[in-house]
C-alpha cells in the first residue's frame, strides 16, 4: 500500500458485528475477558481504538511498534525516564522545543542523568559523546530555526557504539521523513501538531522497530498511565486519514510563502529548508520527501515583530503548529521562553524572529495577510 492509501486504510478494524466502515469508538474501562484474547484495559493501551491508531502510525513510520500518549511531552518524558538510568549521559542537539529543553535542564539532573548540548553537525555530535553516552536526541528540522541533522550519519556513528538514537519528528511528519529507515532507533511526535492537524487534540506518538524498546515503553506507559483516551484516539485516526493531503498543501504553500518573504524588504532572513539558500537544502532533499510547512523569519526589530503579530487578521497569533489554519509564534516569548536569555540569543532566537506554521488556506490569502501585517 502506498502512503496515501495507508493514511486512509492502515489499521482500520471494520466493525464485524454491524459492518460499519469505521472502527467504533470503544469507551469502556472494563472489557469482558474472552478466552482467546489478552486482558484488555485502557491503561494497557490495547483497546480497539488504541490498536488502530498504533497500527496506522506504525504503517506510516515504517515501524514495528507504536504507542500513543496523552501529549508530546508525555512521550518525551517516557523516553528519558523509561530508557535511561543514573549515570547515563545524553547528547542533545541545540534548538530543541522549549518544553523539551525545560524538562532536560530542570529534571534530568535530579535523576542522576547528565547531558550535553551540541551543534547539529555530526562532528560536533560525535565529539560530545563520551563513554557514558547512552542516547543521542535530535530534532530535524529543528525548532524554530529549521536546522537539518544528517540522520544517516548520526545513526552510522551511534549504532556501533551502542548509543540509542532518538528523533523528534514532529516538524516533518511521517509523510515527509521516516527516520527509522536511515537507522534511528526511536521516533517521537507531538501528535498535537500535523498528525492531529486540526488544532483540537493533544497527543504524543512513539514508534520503533525494536521489540525491546517497544516492550519497555509499553511497560512504562502501563505504569505511568499517560494514555490517550479512546475519544481522542478515534479523533486522531480521523485526522491521519487526511495527513498526506494536508502535508502536500502545507509544503506547497510554505515554499511559495518562503520565496515571497525572501524578497520582502522588511524581512532580513528566512529559514526554510526548501529555499536553495538554506544550508540544509541538499540534505533535506536527500532525507525528506518535501520541505515541510514550517518556516521562520526575522523582521526589523522586536517592535516590528510585535506590530506584525498585532496586525494579523487571518493568521492566528498562537502557540502550536501543524493545524489546517496558519499560526504565527514569537518563539522567544512563547515556545522557547524556558531557554535562558543568553542561550536564546546565542542560538539566534531573538524577539525579532517569527515562526509561521503555514496552513492549508489559499496561499494568496495568507500572503495578503502577511503583506499588510509586515507593513
Amino acid at each position: 500500500m502506498k502512503k496515501s492509501t495507508q493514511a486512509v486504510r492502515a489499521g482500520t478494524r471494520h466493525d464485524k458485528n454491524m459492518g460499519g466502515l469505521n472502527t467504533p469508538l470503544l469507551a469502556s474501562s472494563a472489557i469482558e475477558y474472552l478466552d482467546d484474547s489478552e486482558v484488555r484495559y485502557p491503561r494497557y493501551f490495547n483497546t480497539l481504538n488504541h490498536d488502530v491508531v498504533a497500527e496506522k502510525m506504525s504503517a506510516l513510520e515504517l515501524a514495528e511498534a507504536g504507542l500513543v500518549t496523552s501529549s508530546g511531552m508525555a512521550a518525551i518524558s517516557g523516553i528519558f525516564f523509561g530508557l535511561l538510568t543514573r549515570g547515563d549521559h545524553i547528547v542533545f542537539t541545540e534548538g530543541l522545543y522549549g518544553g523539551t529543553h525545560a524538562l532536560i535542564v530542570k529534571e534530568l539532573e535530579r535523576f542522576g542523568i547528565t547531558y550535553s548540548f551540541t551543534a547539529t553537525d555530526v562532528k560536533s555530535i560525535a565529539n560530545a559523546c563520551g563513554p557514558d553516552t547512552r542516547m543521542i536526541y535530535v530534532e530535524s528540522p529543528s525548532n524554530p530555526l529549521l536546522t537539518i541533522v544528517d540522520l544517516a550519519a548520526v545513526a552510522a556513528f551511534a549504532k556501533p557504539r551502542g548509543i540509542l538514537t532518538v528523533i523528534d519528528n514532529t516538524f516533518a511528519s511521517p509523510i515527509l521523513q521516516n527516520p527509522l529507515v536511515p537507522g534511528f532507533d526511536l521516533v517521537m511526535h507531538s501528535g498535537t501538531k500535523y498528525l492531529g492537524g486540526h488544532s483540537d487534540l493533544c497527543c504524543g506518538v512513539l514508534v520503533t522497530r525494536s521489540d525491546e524498546l517497544g516492550e519497555r515503553f509499553y511497560f512504562l506507559q502501563n505504569s505511568t498511565g499517560a494514555i490517550l483516551p479512546p475519544q481522542d484516539s478515534w479523533l486522531l485516526i480521523r485526522s491521519l486519514k487526511t495527513l498526506n493531503l494536508r502535508m502536500e498543501r502545507h509544503c506547497r504553500n510554505a515554499l511559495q510563502i518562503a520565496t515571497w518573504l525572501e524578497d520582502h524588504p522588511r524581512v532580513s532572513e528566512v529559514y526554510y529548508p526548501g529555499l536553495t539558500s538554506h544550508p540544509g537544502h541538499e540534505l533535506t532533499k536527500r532525507q525528506c520527501r518535501d520541505f515541510g510547512g514550517m518556516l521562520s523569519f526575522r523582521v526589523e526589530s522586536p517592535g516590528h515583530a510585535r506590530a506584525v503579530l498585532r496586525r494579523l487578521q487571518l493568521i492566528s497569533f498562537a502557540e502550536s503548529l501543524g493545524g489546517v489554519e496558519s499560526l504565527m509564534t514569537l518563539p522567544a516569548v512563547q515556545t522557547h521562553a524556558d531557554i535562558p536569555l543568553k542561550e536564546r540569543e546565542r542560538l539566534g532566537i531573538c524577539e525579532s524572529l517569527l515562526r509561521l506554521s503555514v496552513g492549508i488556506e489559499t496561499v494568496d490569502d495568507i500572503i495578503a495577510d502577511l503583506e499588510q501585517a509586515l507593513g
Binding site: M1, K2, K3, S4, T5, V8, R9, G19, L21, N22, H198, S199, D200, R238, K241, T242, N244, L245, R246, E248, R249, Q313, L314, S316, A318, S320, G323, V324, E325, L327, G359, I360, E361, T362, D364, D365, I366
Partner: protein, 381 residues
Amino acid sequence: MSDNNYRPATILVHQGRDRDPATGASAIPIYQASTYHHQAGEAGEYDYARCGNPSRDQVEEAIALLEGGVRGFAFASGMAATGSALSLLKSGDHLLASNDLYGGSWRYLTGVLPQQGIKVDLIDTTDPAKVEAAITPQTRALFLETPSNPLFQITDLRAMVAIAKQHNLLTLLDNTFMTPLLQRPLDLGIDIAIHSGTKFLGGHSDLLAGLVTTADPQLAKRIKYFQNSFGAVLAPFDCFLLARGIKTLKLRLEAAQKNARIFAERLLEHPAVGQVIYPGLKDFPGKEEHFSQASGPGAIISFELKSEDQVNALLARVKLPIIAPSLGGVETILTHCWSMSHAAIPASDKRKMGIHPTLLRISVGIEDVEDLWEDFTTALA
C-alpha cells in the same frame, strides 16, 4: 476571520468563525448544552439548543458562506434537510422533480408528500420543454438534482431558473454530488441549495448531516421556522465533526476528483466494463451543459459491467472499497445501486429509469489510485 472576500480554501478552514471568542481556542467548543441561562429572566443570544447554539451556528455560517446564502441550516440528515426545505409547500401544491433522483428523495417525494396533499410529478428535467409542458396552475416548485444520481443526467440550471421565474416557482437543488466548490447554484438563481452533509462535506463516513441554504431572507426566515418546529436539528458534537470535515474539503475533493478522472479513463478500456458515465470523460453526453454550470466532474463514477455474474464476482472479491450505499468519504465506496442506494424504488421503476442490476457506482476516495486500480482489476480478473 474579518474578511468575507477570502478564497474558498481559506473559507473552508476558517469558516464564519475560527476562534472561540470566549477563550481564543483554535477550535469552536462543542456546546453540549440543551438549554441556556436566561440572565435576570431575559433570553440572551441563545435560549434553547434546538432553536440555535454556537456549535450549530458554525456549520450553518460555513455553508452559507460557501454557497453564497444569507444563512444556513443544519439538520440531522440529508433527508431531514430535504424534508424541511420541502415544508415550504402546502396541501394542494404541485411539485415537479427530476425523474432520476437519489432513492431516499424518491421515497419522500412519492411516499410522504402525497400524504400531505402535495401532488408530485417526476419528469425529465434535462429537457426544458418537458418541464414547461408539465407545469399546471398549481405547480409551485421544481426539485432538481444535477448531475443526477446515479445516471449523471444534466439539468440546465439557468433554463430551470428562467422557467421558474416566468411561472413563479420555487427552485430547490440537491447539490450533494458537486459540493459548493464545484457548483454554486444560488449564483445561478436557484432559490434553495440542499446538501447531504454526510457525504463530501463531512467526508469521513462517520456522521450524518443535512444542510440547507438560501440567498433569500424571506425564505430563510420560513426555513428557520420549520427547522425549529420540526426539530430535526444536527447535534453539537456532529456539528463539530462536520465543521472539522469541511476544513479539508478542498484537499479531499481535489484528490478524489483527480483519482476519479484516472479511474474513469481506465474503466473505459477494461474488457469487463460496458458503459462508463462520468462528466470528466470526453464523450459524456451532458458535458457542455455540466461545465457551463459546474467547474469539475466530481469524484463519482457510474459504470455497467457486462453481466450480473461479473457484478457478483467484483462485489465478492474487491478488497479496498467499502461496499455500501453512501459516497463522498475519504475511503472509496462501491455501491450496487439496484440493491443499495436505490433499493427504495420498485424494480420496474428502476428499469424504466435506466438503473439495471449491472449498474455500479463508485465514489472514488483519496487512496492512491494505483492501489485502487490494482485491487479492482484483480477482483475482475
